[in-house]
Every structure is written in C-alpha cells, then in structure tokens.
C-alpha cells in the first residue's frame, strides 16, 4: 500500500539548535502513529514541519505520493493540525473561529463568499455537542474563554472538514481528564474512518492506549520505533531517556493509587488556576507556587512508591511461586501417598482372613481418606488453579465460579468476553486472584444471593472486570484505608493488585443496593482468536 505521508531524512534547525535531525517515517491511511519523547526532544518541531509551518532545512515530505514544496497549505491537502496551544482569532466569536478558513456561505467564491451564520452556528453546535462542550452563546468572543475551552474549539475546528491526516501535538496539557479521554476516543473514531493520525504526547498511557506504532525521539533524532502491541513501557521509556538503568526508570514508569489521587488534586488546582487567571494576576503567582510545591511532593511520593511497588511486586511473585510449589508438593507427594495407602488398605480388606466387622471399619477409613484427598485437591486448586496454566483464565474462572456457587449456595452469573484469548501469566493470575478475593468478600460481608462477574474488552488493550452483587453494599462513611486497621484486607488486596497492574479501580454502591467493583486493566494486545471458543 502507498503511504499517505512519507518523509525522507527530514531535518530542521533553529539557528544553531537542531530540533529535528534526519527523521524518515511513513504513515499509512487509518494508522495511528505516536510520537514519544521527553520535553525538548523535537516532537513539536517535527509536528510543525509535517504540518508545513516550518520549512525543513533538509529532506523531503511526500503526501499521497506528491512531493510538497514548503511552506505548503496543509489544510488544502486535507491535513488538520491540533496544536499544543490553540491559535485562535481572539476577537472573533466561537463559530467564526471553528469555521475560520472554511466558512459555509454563498456564492462559492474564495474571497467573496458571504458567510451563512445560521448554518455555521448549527454545525458548530453539532460538533461541540459531539465533544461534550457547552457554551452559553456561540457569539462569545474566544478571548473570554478558558484555555481548556479554547483548546476544545481548536479540536472542533479540525473536525469541521473531512481530513486525510490529523496531526495532534500534545493538546492534552490544557485539557482535563474527561476531555483527554474524549480526545482518545475521537482518535479511535478517526482511525476507524481511515484517517491517519500522528499523535505526539507526553503521556505514555495515552500513546499505549490508541496508537498502532510509537516512534521515539531523543534530541531530535528518531531513536526507536515499536509496534505498540509488542512494546513494553520499560523499552519505550528507556529509549526516551536514553538509559537502561532500572533505578532511573522506575520513578518514571510506575505510579500508585495515591499518585493518581495527587495528580487529580493537581488537576483540580490547575483548573481553578485557569478560572482565577483571568481576574487575579497576583493569585496566579501564588497558585503556580502551590502547583510547583505539589509537583515536588508528587515526585517525592512517586519515588517512594516506586520502591514500595517493586518490593510488593516481588513479594506477590514469590507468593505465587511458593503457592505453586506448595500445590505441586501436596498434589505430587501427599495425595499420591494417601492414594497408595488407600490401595494398601483395599488389598488388606480383600484378604479372606479379615472379619466383616474389620472390613466395615476399613471401608470407613478408606472413605475418609478419599474425602481427605478431595479436600486436599480443593486446597491445591485454591493455591494454584490447575486449569489456568493449561486452559487459560476463562476456563479457570468458569470452573472456579461454578465450584464456588456450589459450595456457598450464592448464584454466580459469569459473563466472559468471547475473544478473551491468552494473556500474560502475571495478568491472568492477578485477575483470577481479584475474582477470588472479590467473591470471598461477597461471601463474608455482603449477605447477597447472587453475584454477577463480567470480564470484557473495552478496547483492544483494556479489560474491564466488574463484580456486582445484590447484597448490602458499602457502608456510608466507607474508607479504604481504615479497613486494614480493622483487619479486613479483601478490598485492599484488590486495590493493590489493580494498582500494580497499572489499572484503575472504582468501588461504588449500585442503585438497587449492592456493591459494584470495577477494575480497568491494561494489557498487551492479544492475538484475535475465533469467537465461541
């Protein structure tokens, strides 16, 4: 297939500072290519060159097989750009900005078109609704809006015309969490429509969630390229910072729940800063100080957490190893020994010299040995689900829940993704343990009569695990941290496991009563398997 965009040996320098050096890349229709790199690695400069705003000092850009002469009019070719900071016409209103350069109007002459305000307003309202942005009036001048609102207008501008290539230069800095997610789902929409996307971002989570390929830049050079499915975070970060030293990497990669909470705090603070920014200049400086302090605290917290997480991960791995070992020991040794004792007893019982009274006793003993073996098998199963290694997570969950329902008398409805496939061992085990702990929590505290367990893909690289029951739910003044003080480790264990997988956990009471546990877990993309397996 012909690449949509191809660059050959692209270089751009500003004075003596070279921002991009010899970058050659290809982008195909319907492909999402991520640009990763630390700040100052040349992501923005490369985006600008690709968008035709800076002419490269060296190298060529081909779009749809044609060589572009710089500076070219990107929009006329079907290239839309979303910048880090939105470039809007300050004194124009919202819909004029959204349609700037592509006004709807009559006659269809380039310059003498008379804009049709009503239709432009309608279209703008439609797109803004898609983006979940609301304004009191589309006649508001953009100079009066917050940076987040302005960035969303810039995104709306890129959506107004059908584009072949959309270049996104990390606009998420100005966006809150929900709009960041919105942008990610937009990228997936574009990809499905066959639009190519170049997505440069500082947020590795974002890149891993939506891209097909990730190109890593360091000091303006293209240092590595990974298919996202096969890439590991460590590899990417190592390429970004140019070191393989684990000590340096861990603080960058891993983050615990509390870290996310701190991030959220920073986010809120930043939002209020945007609000204050407009009227209070003095307050602004203070806020920035606060944010700086918060950022420092987060960094400190982060490195402390990294060490803690490392330790805990090791602990969990060793625990699983130990259990596996123990299970094998019991299964291979104790159970086999018991079975052979059983045979011996049977042989003894078969002897004709044995009285019938003794025979009955022997039968009793053999029955209790058989029950003992059954119990031991059950313990083995709990220590290491036998099916998980051979048949996978789905089978293990089915057999476990079935067994559990039989034992506890609580109905379990299991709903598995048809294309679950095989996941890495650590993830399969963790999910299995989370279900185990979740169910045992239901049995101990919920007083429920039914449980719904579902495991579904929300995107090719994200699994959503939910465990819902119809019991009494969480107490009103529920506090996760306080539970451990009371000696309840069930929910805490789940939250730790989810955090170690880099996922997100949500605990909430359902409308009809009962607790809903939702865990979103990211994993490497699995190969497509035939449905109904």
């Amino acid at each position: 297939m012909e690449p949509l965009l191809r660059t050959i040996n692209l270089s751009k320098s500003f004075g003596t500072l070279s921002a991009v050096q010899g970058v050659s890349l290809e982008v195909y229709p319907g492909e999402v290519v991520g640009l990763a790199g630390v700040s100052g690695s040349g992501k923005s400069a490369l985006s600008m060159v690709l968008a035709g705003f800076y002419a490269p000092n060296e190298g060529d850009i081909y779009f749809e097989g044609r060589r572009l002469r710089c500076p070219f009019q990107a929009r006329a070719l079907g290239i839309e750009v979303i910048h880090q900071k939105p470039d809007l016409a300050e004194h124009l209103d919202i819909s004029s900005n959204v349609f700037l350069g592509s006004e709807i109007g009559w006659p269809a002459l380039k310059w003498l078109k008379v804009p049709n305000r009503r239709r432009m307003d309608q279209e703008t309202a439609r797109v803004l609704e898609q983006l979940d942005v609301r304004f009191s009036s589309l006649r508001e001048k953009v100079a009066n809006l917050s940076s987040e609102q302005r960035q969303m207008i810039a995104i709306a501008r890129a959506m107004i015309r059908p584009a072949k290539l959309i270049i996104i230069d990390d606009p998420t800095l100005l966006l809150g969490y929900s709009y960041q997610q919105k942008l990610l789902s937009l990228i997936q929409n574009w990809q499905q429509r066959g639009t190519a996307v170049i997505f440069s971002s500082n947020n590795l989570d974002h890149l891993l969630a939506v891209t097909d390929r990730i190109i890593i830049l360091r000091q303006g050079r293209q240092v590595a390229e990974h298919r996202t499915d096969e890439a590991h975070r460590e590899e990417i970060v190592a390429a970004m910072v140019g070191t393989t030293d684990r000590q340096q990497l861990t603080p960058i990669i891993w983050a615990l729940d509390s870290y996310y909470r701190a991030r959220e705090q920073a986010e809120k603070l930043r939002h209020s800063q945007i609000l204050l920014e407009r009227n209070l200049v003095a307050q602004d400086a203070l806020n920035r100080q606060l944010i700086d302090q918060l950022a420092e605290q987060i960094n400190a917290l982060d490195s402390a957490n990294a060490a803690l997480q490392d330790a805990q991960r090791r602990l969990l791995t060793e625990l699983e190893q130990e259990r596996k070992h123990l299970a094998r020991e019991i299964h291979d040794q104790v159970i086999q020994d018991l079975l052979s004792v059983n045979y011996q007893l049977e042989e003894v019982g078969a002897d004709e010299s044995v009285t019938s009274a003794l025979k009955d006793e022997l039968t009793d003993i053999r029955n209790s040995i058989r029950m003992l073996v059954d119990d031991l098998r059950h313990i083995c199963g709990n220590l290491r689900p036998p099916t998980i290694d051979s048949l996978g997570l789905g089978a293990a969950l089915q057999s476990y829940t079935h067994d559990w329902a039989r034992r506890t008398g609580i109905a379990v409805n299991l709903d598995l993704d048809a294309n679950l496939g095989r996941l890495p061992e650590a993830i399969e085990l963790s999910i299995f343990r989370i279900v185990q702990e979740g169910l045992s929590n239901v049995r101990k505290h919920a007083q429920a009569s039914a449980v719904w367990v579902s495991l579904k893909h929300t995107s090719p690289r994200t699994l959503m695990l939910s465990i819902a029951d119809n019991g009494r739910g969480l107490a009103e003044n529920f506090d996760l941290a306080a539970l451990s003080a009371e000696g309840h480790y069930g929910l805490l264990g789940i939250s730790e496991r989810v955090a170690l997988l880099g996922g997100r956990l949500k605990l909430q009471n359902q409308d009809g009563g009962g607790l809903l546990i939702q865990a979103e877990i990211q994993h490497p993309r699995v190969a497509e398997t035939d449905g109904g397996e």
Partner: protein, 327 residues
C-alpha cells in the same frame, strides 16, 4: 459606593461617544461646519460646498484603500504619487487617441500595478510596509517627472473631463458626478469589508495572523490583494482629480498621502490594525476637506495648514490609544 446619578449619566454619555467613533467624528464635523458658517459668508454657499465635495470625493476614495492597508496592520505612503502617476498615464493614453474607457483602464491598471508591487514586497518578501511604500512613492513620483519632463499635460478631451466636472440632476438636487462615484464605491467597499469572508480576514489579520495561517488562509495573497486594491482605488481618485482639474501635472497630489492617512485615522481606523469602518473614513475625509477649506476661507496662511493637519492626526491617534487602554 455608587457615584451619584449625574456623574454616572455623564460617564455613560462619555462611554457611548468613545464607543462609537463615527459619532465623535460627526459631532466634530457639525461643530466645524457651524463655526465656519458663522464666521465666513462664503462657506455655506452651494458653489463652495459643491467644490469641497469634488475634492472630498477623490480623497475619500483613496482613503478607503488606505484604511484597508492600515486595518491589516500596514500603511501605504505611495498614494499621493500613485494618484499623480495614474492621472498622467491616462492623460498620455488620451493624447495617443485611445478611447476614454481604455485610457481609464490604463490608469487604474497603473495604480493596481504599483499596489501589487507594494503588496508583493510586504506580503511575500516580508519587508516593512513603511519603507516599501516610501520607496514606491519616490519611484512613482520620479516616473511622472521623467515622463513629462516637468511639464503638465493639457488639452484633455471633454469626454474625459466630464468624469470630474459633470453634475447629475437627482430630482431638484444637482450632485457632482465624482461624489456619486465615491458613494457607489463606498457601498461596494462597505459590502466587501462587512459581509464577505475576505473582509473578515482583513479585520482579523493584524491581531491574529497565526490563527489565519493555521486555518489554512493564504495570508500572503490577502496582503497582496489589499495593497493592489488600495492602488486601484487610489488611481480612481487620481483619475477623478485629473478630470476635474483638466490637467495632469507632475506636481499634482504632492503631500496628499498625509491628507489621506489623516482622513483614515480621523475616521477611526486604528493604526494598531484591526479596526476601522467605511462610514468613519467617509466622515474623516469630510472633516479633513472642510478644515482645509475653512483654513483658506479664514485667511490662514497655507504654510500653517500642514501643521494643523499633523496636529489633527496626532490628536486622533492619541484618542485611539486612550480608548484601547480603557478597554
């Protein structure tokens, strides 16, 4: 603590006046008009007013073009010289027995060409407009001197002189043709600036050039187009002037760039770019011409007139500056 009602009332009036610049100019126009009518016998005569309106027309037409260059954040100093050059080229064409429409077209084309050179150097090459147009001003003026050897071209055919000297009867009112042409152009330019996307881009250019660039609007083309349009409009003014005077003199329209810029600035065109209206420029040109005429009628020496004009320009730039600070 609210200020007393009376203070608030006056503050409101003040704000209204400052907000609508056209009102400020209109009031100024009425004040000067009333003053001159009272102080002189000759001002308020049909003949004098009709004479003012002819000269006013060509200044206003050129000022429409000038205000467009100022709104995009530039300036055009070559307007006076272009008026003289366009008039001369037309006169020379008429001398060569070209029919009037072709001669007029040649004059307009000349203006457009100078404007295009200005626009290309400013827009495509990126030179500062002040220097570029100062250069083309000398070039255009030099060409007029060179072509004529310093002597004016006389004996223009009556078919051409009609353009500047004819009156049209509208009911009982007899209006000079240049004035009507000016009104027609005012409507056209107003439509262009107020209704079309081009007008929208022109107002946006000075303050948000990057937004236009990132939206894929060809900014270089807009700049070239605006300077070219300014050249054509200025040439139109030059033709009406030549037709009115009946002679194409190399010394004609010297110093008009000051009058034209003054008309635009007094009319509320902001030298910071992005603001200005056709109605304002029209009123500004009227104030200019009335002032010039009045100074003559009052018997003030012509030597002092430029000083008064310069003061006017500075006063209005100051007003614009203060208004920006209040906002």
């Amino acid at each position: 603590m609210f200020p007393p009602t009376e203070v608030r009332f006056w503050r409101g009036i003040w704000r209204l006046l400052l907000g609508r610049h056209e009102i400020v100019v209109l009031v100024l126009l009425l004040v000067i008009g009333t003053f001159l009518s009272l102080r002189t016998d000759t001002f308020l005569t049909w003949n004098n007013l009709s004479n003012i309106s002819r000269a006013f027309s060509w200044i206003a037409i050129a000022a429409f073009g000038e205000s467009m260059t100022i709104i995009i954040g530039g300036i055009d100093l070559s307007v006076g010289a272009v008026m003289a050059l366009a008039g001369l080229i037309t006169a020379r064409s008429l001398e060569a027995d070209l029919p009037v429409p072709f001669a007029v077209a040649a004059g307009l084309l000349t203006g457009g060409l100078v404007g295009w050179v200005n626009g290309t150097l400013v827009g495509r090459v990126g030179l500062p407009p002040f220097i570029v147009t100062l250069g083309t001003m000398s070039i255009a003026r030099g060409i007029t001197f060179g072509l004529t050897g310093g002597w004016p071209v006389r004996n223009l055919p009556p078919g051409f002189r009609l353009l500047g000297q004819q009156d049209l009867l509208l009911g009982s009112l007899s209006l000079p043709l240049p004035f009507l042409i000016m009104l027609g152009l005012a409507v056209l330019v107003n439509l262009l600036m107020g209704q079309t996307v081009l007008g929208n881009y022109i107002y946006t250019l000075a303050n948000s050039e990057r937004a236009l660039l990132t939206s894929g609007v060809n900014v270089v083309q807009i700049k070239t187009l605006v300077y070219t349009l300014c050249g054509v409009l200025t040439a139109m003014g030059g033709l009406l002037m030549t037709a009115r005077l009946g002679v194409a003199a190399p010394m004609a329209a010297i110093g008009y760039e000051l009058d034209i810029i003054a008309a635009a600035v007094i009319g509320g065109t902001s030298l910071f770019g992005g603001e200005g209206s056709v109605l304002g420029v029209l009123l500004g040109a009227a104030v200019m011409l009335m002032l010039r005429n009045g100074l003559v009628l009052l018997g003030l020496s012509a030597y002092w007139q430029t000083a008064v004009m310069g003061t006017m320009i500075l006063a209005f730039i100051l007003l614009d500056h203060w208004r920006r600070q209040i906002r």
